[in-house]
């Protein structure tokens, strides 16, 4: 990576470093083929939160408006973390699942293709 051309050293702390979030870390999640939600979501979550709590307590508030959300068969759901296949342990924490600050997840629900199959 190149350096910024500047009149003197040009280095700063990242605006979004972990310690700025009062004990939480950021986790992003998008639901593939469900673009009714225009973009993936961003959550500040305790690193110790079990993955199960994330799915069962956090996601409904975010994705619940979609009629297909109730139809998700979670046993068949597929996950990607940073684009790579990811097998979460539902009873382990975010940290123990290897999800660090600003990790990004993609949820895939085969068979659910959005409103009228339009990826909405």
């Amino acid at each position: 990576m190149a350096a910024v051309a500047a009149v003197k050293p040009y280095e700063f702390e990242a605006a979004d470093r972990l310690e700025n979030f009062h004990g939480n870390q950021l986790l992003y999640i998008g639901w593939d083929q469900h673009l009714m939600f225009c973009a993936p979501f961003c959550f500040p979550l305790p690193p110790a939160m079990p993955f199960r709590a994330f799915v069962e307590q956090v996601l409904p508030g975010a994705f619940g408006y979609h009629p297909e959300f109730k139809q998700i068969d979670w046993s068949k759901a597929e996950w990607l973390a940073s684009g790579q296949p990811f097998k979460p342990d539902w009873d382990k924490s975010l940290t123990d699942n290897g999800l660090a600050h600003k990790a990004v997840l993609r949820l895939r629900t085969p068979g659910l293709t959005g409103i009228k199959g339009s990826a909405t």
């Binding site: 040009y10 939480n24 992003y28 998008g30 673009l35 225009c38 993936p40 961003c42 990826a119 909405t120």
Partner: protein
């Protein structure tokens, strides 16, 4: 110094040269590098500032005269428009939302351009360059103020415009245009000129102004139309300056080419991303449409821009990167953006709505390959839900692109069903991007973009509450306090157009106008 018998009549060019060139001198009591400390650090090599061709030759006395005449005419129209309740003559009150977008998102940037051009004007050692830049600095404060003054009357009768300086600095989607300009003014003077003078003022300006100015004209808004037309002769000067800058820099030294090319790539992409808001405005917010975003892109970028880059090829410049993606995306971005502002309509300063049947048919006709397939089902679903009293307000904050700061709404090049994810790791931390363009811009200058004030993250850091707010209190609800911080009045400035105060007032006032006669 004998009295000359018959004076040689000076030509315009010669006379202008005497009026400007030669005013400067090589300083000796202070070293030139200290007097002009920003002229070299970007790596651009200038050997002879006198090779600068003045793009327009306007002495100050002529400038004052012409501009004062233009101002007089403009303010006469603004006054008449206000006195005659001209705002009641617009197509319908939905139109006013385009002005909210403009006043909050664009006018303060005109002001930033004013300060930016003052900065680079001072920074350049060349006289011709300095004068042209400072004159543009002066023009830009004009544009900022004539826009504020034109819209001042709208602010009296409609919501969403009352706190525009605060909103630009706080409201989430405003960080898109704002960070664009912050990026440009924090760059060195040459990059600023390529960013604003060339890429924005020359390559992309028509895509900003034609939609707004023609949009105003089509929708009966003489006030906004007039400031647009009045600014046009200034813009013509700015465009010639932008072009002269790039030619001058490229002619000075072959080493400048790769630096300039990278800036063209970067700033065309940055500018294009900001224009997403204009695309949305053109296709969804004008009750009477001028042309589609796609058509505008084809005319003003693909045709006009194509000719420009053909012309610049002799300097070794190639067209900007990522045009293939832009070409593919022109069928999508306006719909993706309107979907975004519609669902986050609880957190913004203007009203949104679902298009009518007739409007959807227009969109189908303009976007035959994509609208019915990908977007109509979404919109019809939302409209049905809205009728059932279940209007979609997305209350969960979105993931933003680290560079352009737009929520990650864009899709993979070639696959409009798949969100485009890109990421980089810098000093142990992940950064996320909406596109290859935004990722590459970050990767080149991570120390710059890691500073981004991303509205979503800032809310989660607790930086978007007014003093005295306690986010640890029981039952704390962030949205109302964030709106408070934004200066957005809940239920007045935000939410759907249907049922809004703007809608009711306009109907009542216009009704009074039509029955009074």
């Amino acid at each position: 110094m004998d009295m000359p018998v018959a004076k040689k009549k000076l030509g315009l060019k010669e006379r202008y040269a005497l009026m400007t060139r030669g005013l400067d001198w090589q300083t000796t009591y202070q070293p030139m590098d200290k007097v002009f400390p920003f002229a070299k650090y970007e790596g651009i090599k200038i050997h002879d500032w006198d090779k600068w061709e003045d793009p327009f030759r306007l002495t100050m006395d002529a400038y004052w005269k012409y501009q004062a005449e233009k101002e007089k005419k403009l303010y006469a129209i603004i006054d008449a428009f206000a006195q005659n309740n001209g705002h009641l003559g617009v197509t319908d009150a939905r139109y006013v939302n385009t002005l909210k977008l403009f006043l909050n998102g664009i006018s303060p940037l005109e002001y930033m351009a004013h300060r930016g051009f003052a900065h680079v004007g001072r920074a350049f050692p060349g006289v011709g360059t300095r004068v042209a830049c400072l004159m543009q600095s002066l023009d830009e404060i004009r544009h900022s103020q004539t826009q504020i003054h034109s819209m001042s009357n709208y602010n009296k009768y409609y919501n969403g415009m009352h706190s525009f300086p605060k909103m630009l600095q706080r409201v989430w989607y405003m960080s898109v245009p704002r960070s664009f300009f912050d990026d440009a003014v924090t760059a060195g003077p040459f990059e600023f000129m390529i960013a604003v003078g060339f890429s924005f003022e020359y390559v992309l300006t028509n895509l900003l102004f034609v939609p707004f100015v023609s949009g105003a004209a089509y929708n009966g808004d003489m006030g906004a139309m007039t400031f647009g037309f009045s600014a046009q002769s200034d813009e013509a000067r700015h465009m010639t300056l932008g072009l002269e800058v790039i030619k001058f820099v490229l002619e000075q030294d072959p080493d400048n080419l790769p630096i300039v090319q990278r800036w063209i790539d970067k700033w065309t992409w940055r500018g294009y991303r900001v224009l997403t808001l204009v695309a949305m405005m053109m296709d969804y917010m004008l009750p009477k449409r001028v042309m589609s975003w796609k058509e505008a892109w084809e005319v003003y970028f693909e045709q006009n821009g194509g000719a420009l880059f053909k012309d610049l090829a002799r300097y070794g410049i190639r067209p900007p990167k990522w045009l293939d993606q832009i070409e593919f995306d022109k069928d999508h971005i306006s719909h993706q953006a309107w979907s975004t502002l519609y669902q986050y309509g609880g957190a913004s300063n203007f009203h949104t709505w679902m298009p009518s049947d007739e409007e959807m048919d227009w969109l189908s006709a303009k976007y035959p390959n994509t609208f019915d397939k990908f977007y109509r089902p979404r919109f019809e679903h939302w409209r049905d839900e809205q009728k059932k009293g279940n209007r979609f307000y997305n209350m969960t904050l979105p993931m933003l692109c680290q560079t352009c700061q737009i929520p990650m709404i864009f899709t993979e090049p070639g696959d409009p069903t798949q969100t485009c994810y890109r990421e980089s790791t810098h000093k142990g931390m992940k950064y996320h991007f909406c596109s290859d363009g935004c990722k590459e811009i970050f990767d080149h200058e991570p120390e710059k973009y890691k500073q981004s004030w991303l509205p979503v993250h800032q809310i989660y850091q607790g930086n978007c509450f007014n003093p005295g707010v306690d986010p640890t209190a029981e039952g704390f609800k962030p949205l109302p306090v964030v709106l408070d911080y934004y200066g957005v009045g809940f239920g007045r400035d935000n939410l759907d157009f249907e049922g809004s105060e703007d809608q009711k007032n306009f109907a009542a006032w216009r009704g009074a106008a039509t029955t009074n006669v």
